[in-house]
């Protein structure tokens, strides 16, 4: 088996590698856009309107989302509805929401109250403070969440092929079923490149969005993202 065989398999009209790649990208983009919109809206709303109970719910739901296997979640959504692209897409959106939601919530809650107070003092309306102070300051962390979601969605979209939604997983599954290494790699290599490319592009975007002073030298994975701990609201002094 040579790279040429893999290229031939990718372009085999019966397998339609380019078409599956297009389907894969389309599914991932739609799912990511929907998950981002829902995650940011819910996260910002929870941070602005919610109390302690909301905080508990956001963290619990996000942690549960982390423990439910993405493949199982998608299979479950499809089993409860029908085989095909729409249910698979619903599964992808569902698993993409928690990282964005948790990061958006944590980021907005983590904005220094002194900064929002200053903005209020300068005559910003509440909406102005949100759109021109809190959201811009939250962007780096929100983007980190979008990146985690994107990587998960692209990866799980491979398994969408198993529930009839197409994508590059079709080639991998065909290769596995027929023990054909060329077909297997014709699916696996573009999938890996697509995922790594997605991670790099979004990683770069996140880095560019982060002010220089806030760029970490060493980052670690944490159980919940935290930049600064949310402070208790300060009491108004009479």
């Amino acid at each position: 088996m040579s790279p040429h065989d893999v290229w031939e398999a990718f372009n085999d009209p019966n397998l339609d590698g380019p078409g599956q790649l297009a389907t894969h990208v389309r599914l991932s983009l739609i799912a990511l856009a929907a998950a981002t919109a829902a995650g940011v809206a819910l996260g910002v709303a929870a941070a602005k309107l919610g109390g302690r109970w909301t905080a508990f719910m956001v963290v619990s739901v996000s942690n549960l989302g982390r423990t439910v296997p993405t493949f199982a979640l998608m299979a479950l959504v499809v089993a409860l509805t029908s085989i095909g692209e729409r249910p698979a897409l619903a599964g992808l959106v569902l698993l993409g929401i928690p990282p964005v939601l948790l990061n958006a919530y944590t980021a907005v809650r983590g904005v220094d109250p002194a900064v929002t107070d200053a903005a209020r003092g300068m005559g910003f309306t509440r909406l102005g403070v949100l759109t021109r102070v809190e959201i811009p300051l939250s962007l780096p962390l929100v983007f980190a969440g979008i990146r985690i979601s994107a990587i998960q969605i692209v990866a799980t979209a491979v398994l969408a092929a198993a529930v009839g939604a197409g994508g590059l997983g079709v080639l991998i599954l065909a290769g596995l079923a027929n023990s054909d290494d060329a077909v297997l790699l014709a699916g696996a290599v573009p999938t890996a490149l697509l995922a790594v490319g997605t991670g790099l592009v979004l990683g770069l975007a996140q880095w560019l969005l982060t002010p220089r002073g806030l760029r970490p030298r060493t980052t670690s994975h944490t159980l919940a993202p935290h930049r600064t701990a949310p402070r208790p609201p300060e009491k108004d002094t009479p």
């Binding site: 088996m1 549960l64 982390r66 423990t67 439910v68 296997p69 993405t70 493949f71 199982a72 979640l73 299979a75 479950l76 499809v78 089993a79 409860l80 085989i83 990587i151 692209v154 990866a155 799980t156 491979v158 398994l159 198993a162 529930v163 590059l168 997983g169 991998i172 599954l173 290769g175 596995l176 023990s179 290494d181 297997l184 790699l185 699916g187 696996a188 290599v189 999938t191 890996a192 995922a195 790594v196 997605t198 991670g199 060493t218 980052t219 670690s220 994975h221 944490t222 159980l223």
Partner: protein, 217 residues
């Protein structure tokens, strides 16, 4: 909404038990392999900028590759079965363990290290008796996160003949006209395993770091 076939679950209880044990074995082997690679690497690169960036970068790229594609990329070199799944899953866990271990080791205060050196400890003793124990909470956070995600991704092992609870979802469920009962059982059991292992590791961490407990310092 289709109903759950409890009778099917009862008839297949033995199979389900075997798959659960397989799932735990795959997870355990993967985590052991990941730790065996990640800890020495983390220790080696802990005080150097460029080697750390390279190690973390490679681990991050591995972490990004979708599981099924990674297993598939390994198949030309390994037989079908548990091996590609365990190697692939271990590769995933590297990023979390390497990064967290290095952050933990770098977080050890310089005064503590100096005091240990001043007491006559060799560099090796400083590492084993002072730095690693103090880095344990950070390391355990990485191990817990990696374990939870490994339990989840191990469901994909079934595609390459690796067994485990993914077999319940894929072979018994999806491939039999989306038979709901095994898919639901597989989802619930995998999630329960992830939560249980996370709690177990949290308990282990509590036992291993008596100095970190509240009221004991």
């Amino acid at each position: 909404m289709p109903e759950i076939r409890w009778d099917w679950l009862q008839r297949h209880a033995d199979d389900i038990q075997i798959m659960t044990v397989q799932h735990l074995e795959i997870t355990g082997l993967s985590m052991a392999l990941a730790l065996a690679v990640a800890l020495p690497v983390a220790v080696a690169v802990r005080n150097r900028r460029v080697p750390f960036a390279v190690a973390a970068g490679v681990a991050d790229v591995l972490y990004t590759i979708p599981s099924l594609a990674l297993f598939a990329l390994l198949l030309p070199y390994t037989d079908i079965g548990r091996t590609p799944a365990v190697i692939g899953l271990a590769a995933y866990a590297l990023s979390m363990i390497v990064r967290n271990t290095v952050v933990g080791l770098r977080g050890v205060p310089a005064v503590v290290r100096d005091a240990a050196v001043g007491q006559g400890l060799t560099p090796r003793q400083v590492l084993v008796r002072v730095e690693l124990p103090l880095a344990l909470p950070a390391i355990m956070t990485g191990v817990r996160l990696a374990t939870v995600s490994t339990v989840g991704i191990a469901t994909v092992a079934a595609f390459v003949g690796g067994g485990g609870l993914g077999e319940l979802i894929w072979d018994k469920g999806i491939q039999r006209e989306m038979f709901l009962t095994p898919i639901l059982a597989g989802t619930v059991l995998t999630t329960a395993l992830a939560i249980a292992l996370d709690a177990l590791l949290a308990g282990a961490q509590w036992l291993l770091t008596p100095w970190a407990r509240r009221g004991r310092t």
